[in-house]
Symmetry: D2
Subunit: 457 residues, 4 copies
């Protein structure tokens, strides 16, 4: 059975042109004029783009005996509803747990996925076993390794562990990634704030100002360069971190920065909302920033000094957030965003003229596929590519509200935002998962995507 998407305008990272797209066997079979297929999807007035790829999610992530509220079922359903056709989640080994073991755990969680997915492997501890298993992880198709410079006492690794792991990545052609905040300082600041009675959600923001992120970003870049490996910096939220990345690029280093849609559009005034729940629901790391950082992030997307837009989707219910009443360090870190990333970025980026449509595709899909070693299987509208496509209606609009969302949680940090530009159809490997705004995806349809080690950038 074949499907043809007719009358649309194809928009890629590269190119805008009118053509039909023929889909067969889950892949793009032809691109051209007057194509014919068994089924027809009408894209009149729409843009046909590579489906979004979210390079940074935490679905069913273990937390204090429970889990983040969106699992691979609801999370990937939300993704598709918003035009995202693939997520890359994080396998997080427990202290001392083997990397291959962790893969098994995450393989089990992901069986329910509605869309395709892959994993990054986190290096949460260091030792001979980790060193030896890293090549096997790469063979498994997991070619990126995450390092936490914060979360002291749990996930955090120190500089020499990071250096050792980065050197191993260099040998393997793998991409090291960092969560860049100085964990020592954050820990001390948190203790101090709590001791002084600042235990509300705003204390979270006070405990990790932007320079703490800028410092760690700068440090990770140096360590990567000494190891002879590029670097992917997750959730770049501020001018300080962006400046470090720009400076590195000007010294000929290969570094990629990933702003989140949250940091591009929301700011730290949210933490001063009188309603504890309102503020706590926005607690994530790095925290939302002062508005002035937003200009820096947008300019980075337009000029190419920042490369990808993600969500760090890690959703907790209000009830879960309330674990942290009286102690902000116990508020589970994370917000949602999977369903909203594309519409929000289109509205605030393309709609305002800050970025072009082609740049929109680049930062939400193509750049990610390239950096993460799966282009052009993903992230492309090319013959032979997976038919992960979104038919985007630039005139469709809605008001974001939790009551209409796919996510399992009871609120939405973008509540009330008007967005213009929405998926009319979303296809996952050729299967229509969303049609006219109605989600009709299938649990378990999603497949693991094995990725290649470093090739052409």
């Amino acid at each position: 059975m074949s499907t043809v998407i007719k009358n649309g305008t194809i928009v890629t990272a590269d190119l805008t042109y009118k053509a039909d797209v023929l889909v067969e066997g889950g892949q793009i079979a032809a691109i051209g004029q007057g194509l014919v297929g068994d089924e027809v999807i009408d894209a009149t007035g729409c843009y046909v783009m590579p489906g979004g790829i979210d390079p940074h999610t935490h679905l069913e992530m273990p937390f204090m005996g429970t889990y983040s509220a969106d699992d691979f079922e609801s999370g990937t359903r939300a993704a598709l509803a918003g035009g995202t056709t693939m997520v890359i989640d994080f396998a997080l080994p427990a202290p001392g747990q083997g990397l291959l073991d962790a893969i098994k755990v995450w393989d089990n969680k992901s069986t329910r996925a509605h869309c395709d997915y892959s994993f990054h492997m986190a290096i949460t501890w260091w030792g001979q076993q980790v060193f030896e298993e890293m090549p096997k992880v790469v063979e498994h198709g997991i070619t990126s390794f995450k390092h936490f410079m914060a979360y002291k006492g749990s996930l955090m690794v120190n500089d020499d562990e990071m250096f050792a792991s980065f050197k191993r990545c260099a040998e393997l052609g793998a991409v090291p990634m960092v969560h860049a905040e100085n964990g020592d300082i954050v820990a001390e600041m948190s203790t101090k704030l709590l001791a002084e009675g600042n235990n509300g959600p705003e204390g979270h923001a006070y405990s990790r100002p932007s320079q703490v992120e800028g410092e760690a970003t700068n440090r990770a870049i140096m360590i990567a360069d000494m190891a002879g490996v590029p670097l992917y910096v997750v959730h770049t939220s501020c001018e300080e971190a962006h400046e470090a990345i720009r400076r590195a690029k000007m010294n000929g280093k290969r570094v990629w920065g990933e702003p989140l849609i949250q940091h591009l559009t929301l700011d730290d005034s949210e933490y001063f909302n009188q309603d504890w729940d309102h503020a706590a629901r926005r607690v994530m790391s790095p925290p939302f920033r002062d508005k002035k950082h937003q200009d820096s992030l947008w300019a980075g997307l337009a000029s190419g000094t920042l490369s990808c837009v993600a969500t760090d989707h890690c959703a907790f219910t209000t009830e879960q957030k309330r674990y942290g009443v009286g102690d902000f360090t116990k508020i589970p870190n994370g917000t949602g965003g999977l369903e909203d990333r594309l519409p929000m970025l289109w509205t605030y980026g393309v709609g305002t003229g800050r970025i072009t449509m082609n740049e929109f595709v680049a930062v939400t899909s193509t750049n990610i596929a390239k950096i993460m070693g799966m282009y052009p299987k993903k992230g492309a509208v090319l013959v032979g590519a997976d038919a992960d496509l979104v038919v985007w209606d630039p005139e469709a609009s809605k008001t974001i509200t939790a009551s209409a969302q796919q996510s399992a949680i009871d609120y939405n940090v973008f509540e009330g935002k008007e967005v213009k530009g929405l998926p009319r159809y979303t296809l996952s490997r050729g299967v229509v998962a969303v049609a006219e705004g109605k989600v009709q995806s299938r649990e378990g349809h999603g497949e693991f995507v094995a990725r290649e080690p470093m090739g052409a950038v």
Copy 2:
């Protein structure tokens, strides 16, 4: 009749993959495995890339009653020999001459071209006629306008003329371009140097140091931003100019910088050669720079803060250069490079790891086609694109020497350089113009390429 390029690896700005390319009617008819055609070109061991586009040449340019030595015949022949399949030259109206008149003059010169070509229109004076003809120039398919901030007394325009023209470009969706050097300072410095008896070729370099270029670049960027139009800066040769471009990008401005292959690989020590001829042959504006600027330019290509690599090919014979004996201001400005740009950039860029193969294609072809409004007709390996292709042999090598070159002049500024990476075949709209290093192109084969005004960037 069809031609198939078999067994090669396609390298685009975007992608590296093994596939055959079928050419029919001057265009790419198919890309895929096992394609069949009337003729076969063997690309075993080679990369199949979009042919180079040189965005900056001066063929048969009028000069003191004579002309630059390479005309559209020899110049485009040299281009093809080096893997470049298109040039964009400059139509230069005389003072008071209409723009449409100038087009006619250049149309006449270009009838002998071996490869496709287009023109930028220079704004060498300002007046109502210029204002009124600009839209007609754009309709003609010439969608970029060049402005000289130097050459006081001849080509130079001042700030309010430039602002007026930039605003007109904004209305027309045309791209303004600048030769950025402060002409007032250069003129004064030249006078002063001559008065002090510094009349040799090194005086040329002293008269226009890098900060004179940096200043003008910075000024043009401001004026473009006030006019609400992007800006293309030709022959960005130094850190100061590059810094201004970077800073502009960080403020969300759209500015493109174009380093020349000469500035990337040669330095100002050449001007101190004891042989007057040696030094004079290297006289161009901006002059070669101190070595430290090269690092800046290469980092710009890798990080995307600089966008294109050109030659500013404007060849004069030694005899012509000698007009300037005793007065460096009379040495005709310009050097060759059309045949050498791709092999030199590959050798010093890809061969050293400074840029990837994909970035090589981007900066020599694809970015240029996009910025100049003719992508993907040019600059792409896509079905429907013009079959301007180069089959690149990464193992082929040679020593550059004037005695073997296509250019009409009697020397080569890259004389003696070893290059590794050369075209095995060059195709111009499907016609094999170079085969196994042998040029077999046809005079008059080249066609004018009409370009589109600003679209997606």
Copy 3:
């Protein structure tokens, strides 16, 4: 007759210490413990500092057949009232008028001055006469030359005039100064805004945004460097200009920037006041800026990348401002500030911890005296220095209001600001000009201060 200032704490650019100051014959005769004199000024609880020097005023400046409202009588009276004991005004030759002629005109105006003064000479046109008179101006003790890059059609000089004048300054050891805004762009923007019906005071701000100043600053720095001379940039009002200065310093250039107290404390929201008079009274060039620029200016003062704080005092009455009703380009440019500079800078700088007391003295007095070739006659608390002193009461406070000011105009741009930190006494060459806030200065007491050409910086 001698005077001793007792029980105070001396604060210089350099040092804070308790000592008495003995004044005799208009100079400081001794500094030490337990000094005795004929008269005693009690400085208990106060700081004894060098009197302020305002390097930038326009008193009785000719304008459209009339003059700026504060002349040397009221202007210097206002200065003393606010702790400023010297002003440097600008001699402005009319087109074609000789420099020595202009000095005579300004000598006449200044006979009524209450405090000492000097002049900068403006280069408002260029020619052999100007070239030849410049050394005589320097011999006269006027060792700084001002150049206007804006005010096209009247004061503006172009790049080659500026370069010629800067080279002449280099020969003479004189300091070139610039009003840095791109006059071509300002003129075009003004025309355009008026044509579109934007004729109100806010049009003034739209016509000269910060990048127009940044560009001109950058250009002047390059020209000064090519001429081999340092540069003094007046009224540095924005990050772009400050950035150009910082960058220059990092290349080893000697450049000084002078923020105004207005730009440090007021912002462009004033131009959007509904009351035309309110907005027009704030019209000056450069205009007030967006708040974000203030952080840049304050950091510059603290880190030394900006050197002096001035007022550009050029006061016009509301009636005069109204010349520009219906056409913002006719609103006389300028605001007051002479009486308010020190209290405002103390309150918003020292009072907030942004700068130290010593830095306060440096930027309001000592740095200016050094750069302008009259240190330590002025700007110092040293034996032998002129006894231009202010006894500063850090606890005294008031609300600024036009009704209580010395200036001849009918409003004050700082109206309503609370300041803490005021002069208790101001001495001009040993004569008490202000006592307990009461002005008792004498018209005609002020003397011309001849300055030295460039020496140690």
Copy 4:
């Protein structure tokens, strides 16, 4: 008994003027014309300047069971010979040793000093005892605390120890200092280089490239800002570190950088000398750098982004250096310089026009005295100041050679350098320690200088 220095030109950080200086009781008793004293020092043709202060020495520093070769006797004798009248050394507690204990040890060493001295206290470990003794150290007059970010396994402290100590400094008004290199990376790199057989002195340079210093500098600045305290960065040797300091200043932070005379004038080519001894004698941390870093350091001194010039004098004999044959990590780190700092900086700074004489005094003496809490007792030519003076002959010259030096070691890293500008006399608290180049100082004359906690900057 009184001494008068006659006929000289006084040069301070601030001022250049002709005056005599009267010295009585070890202090400056008068400055003026025609002063009379019991003894006369003729300063005809000379500059009278505050004696140099070296803020960074390691005399008799314990090392592998022995000590650095210059102790307080020979070290301070060398200082005086070169015009330096005070040194600040480092008290280095052993692991677990109390701070007050360490002071005793260093008090004992310093009894033999020829000139005045003070100590910085090093924080080599962290604990309750350290926390509690810090205020007592400050009371003792030691108001600066040094932290090593390198020397893993011995002196190095980690980020949270540093943060704790910095916060304590903030409470005490003390200045935290850092040796800024990332110790983890240096340790790993050293191990790797040795494992690969790179055991020569050049391995030392490879193990700690400039970005390792830049990173640590950037990190220390962030930590200081979070602690609310200024920061003094010792031995700033490269553009990366200087850039971090500049950037911090532009964000309104108070950070001081201290280049060494070695890094200003020598480069890393020394490590590639064929003679092991030659190279090993230059081993210090940070190592000498590529020449391009020198421009950055000089521009920093001229523009004020770098504040002080030191030596890090830590002299080891060739025999001691040879402990590291076969293993560069065992080569004792350090070079001499105490006798050469002033002549070298004068020759390469003032003599070349890079810095003024006043800036020379600022960076070798006055800035140090101010930052370190002992101005104007030290670092000033003011009545009441200690008569630590140098009578500087700008025409005197010599060739630096180990055979003529005061230092106890058998070589000099500046061997063969021609310097122009030497002390004719050096006075320590009024006592002539050097006369006409002849050292006549007295062992034990030097006294401890108690310093004040943070006051005006």
